[in-house]
């Protein structure tokens, strides 16, 4: 029974709650590093390592970290692991370090990692958190590989750097550039919608807000409520200005 539960924790991140395809988290690295299979693979592996390590440490420290300053604490822990990965890559795989560039440092602000810390690691045991981190990381990696395979084969006529004989002459280079990234990702999510629709329960997710680590700061969980708050603030603003003026008088 417990074995099954552990397996479910691990598998959830890969399929049912795939961070990229279902939860729509971590869009920035997804779009930016999927221009080639190699860079997608390195990004996926780097993020998975950081995710597993940070989940483990945050879960181990869950009773020590004060609740009010937890987000800065998580950021420091994550940033430490990102720096370690950066230094290791710079030393042993400088080519990949150059290829990933600024996106490697930006793993720190990847919503998937902070989101898992906030939503899972701070409430669960170390083993569960490691499994969850591994599942989510592999889910991220798989999604990156799917997108990058399509983009590299169609856009560059090659796979992982090896040229494909026939496709080489018919490459559509826009797919590897910025607009192609949005296009392929959009179509892939539409395909996922179609597939999950047949099985019944499609989880209606608004843009990353449900899984967003900052969602509690938006006072509630969705951006639509931010909308309401702004609307309320706007209607309040003139009133308060008026009050100040009257006080001055």
């Amino acid at each position: 029974m417990t074995e099954n539960k552990k397996l479910a924790t691990f598998l959830r991140g890969i399929i049912a709650e795939n961070p990229v395809l279902i939860l729509i988290l971590g869009t920035c690295p997804t779009l930016a590093t999927t221009t080639s299979v190699i860079s997608a693979l390195s990004m996926g592996i780097a993020a998975t390592i950081v995710l597993i390590c940070s989940n483990a440490v945050i879960s181990a420290l869950r009773k020590v970290i004060p609740d009010t300053v937890r987000i800065p604490c998580y950021i420091v822990i994550i940033a430490a692991f990102v720096t370690a990965v950066q230094l290791l890559l710079q030393a042993y795989l400088p080519k990949i370090y150059d290829m990933l560039g600024v996106y490697l440092a930006l793993i720190v602000v990847n919503c998937i990692i902070l989101g898992r810390a906030e939503m899972f690691a701070r409430k669960n045991t170390v083993l569960d958190s490691v499994l969850d981190g591994a599942g989510m990381g592999i889910g991220f990696l798989v999604a990156l590989l799917i997108i990058s395979t399509f983009r590299e084969v169609v856009g560059n006529g090659s796979f992982a750097g090896f040229e494909i004989p026939f496709l080489e002459d018919y490459k559509i280079s826009i797919i590897t550039q910025a607009p192609g990234g949005f296009l392929v990702y959009g179509i892939l999510i539409a395909v996922m919608n179609k597939l999950t629709e047949k099985r019944g329960g499609v989880k209606k997710k608004s843009f990353s807000c449900d899984g967003c680590p900052s969602s509690h700061l938006c006072h509630k969980t969705s951006c639509s409520e931010v909308e309401e708050i702004t609307a309320a603030a706007r209607s309040e603003a003139p009133a308060s200005v008026g009050k100040e003026e009257s006080e001055n008088v």
Partner: protein, 198 residues
């Protein structure tokens, strides 16, 4: 020198638009672009925080991390400074400029984990800009973000009213619209260099 600064500014706004060409700050771009006034608020808040963040992180890197040979702590130092700065700006605005706080306040906490802000501070260091150039570059990137948000909010309000296939509703059609907007920005490649004759 002046020409160079203009080039950096326009490069940030049009050619290397962070959202549409470099995929930084996609979350707020897609999440908070449903209405034009919201998009403006977020864009202005991001520009403001980018300027503040660069004004603080650039000196920290040049005068603290480099002399102490601690360059590898860049990522940790920058993200902490940005997180603290955002809180600080929020408190200051709340206390002294309540009107501005009311229009920008709700967006500020969301900006801490915005990769565009961390991205611009790191890129300014990687590109070896001096303080002035770094500030101009941040301004350009921020304005580029605002421009992309505004344009996209306009496009999006129309998409919401269009009948699209069921599987495409919501996220997918928004991404495809973003792709078309990005395609338009593609046309700016090389424009600035040619106008200035650099």
């Amino acid at each position: 020198m002046f020409k160079e600064l203009i080039l950096i500014l326009m490069g940030g706004v049009l050619v290397n638009n962070y959202v549409l060409q470099q995929f930084l700050g996609i979350c707020p771009f897609l999440g908070v672009s449903k209405k034009v006034n919201q998009a403006t608020g977020m864009g202005v808040a991001v520009t403001f925080v980018m300027l503040c963040a660069t004004a603080v992180t650039h000196p920290i890197y040049t005068y603290i991390l480099v002399p102490c040979k601690l360059e590898y702590l860049q990522t940790i130092a920058f993200i902490l400074v940005i997180a603290a700065l955002v809180q600080f700006v929020e408190i200051i605005l709340k206390k002294y400029i309540p009107a501005l706080y009311k229009s920008l306040g709700v967006y500020l906490p969301l900006i801490t984990t915005n990769c565009a802000v961390l991205g611009v501070t790191i890129n300014n260091i990687t590109d070896g800009y001096n303080f002035l150039a770094a500030m101009i570059s941040s301004l350009g990137v921020g304005l580029g973000f605002l421009l992309a948000m505004l344009l996209f909010a306009g496009v999006r309000s129309r998409i919401e009213n269009c009948p699209s296939p069921k599987a495409f509703r919501g996220v997918p059609i928004t991404l495809i619209a973003a792709s078309i907007v990005a395609l338009a920005f593609f046309g700016f490649a090389g424009v600035v260099e040619n106008i200035l004759g650099v």
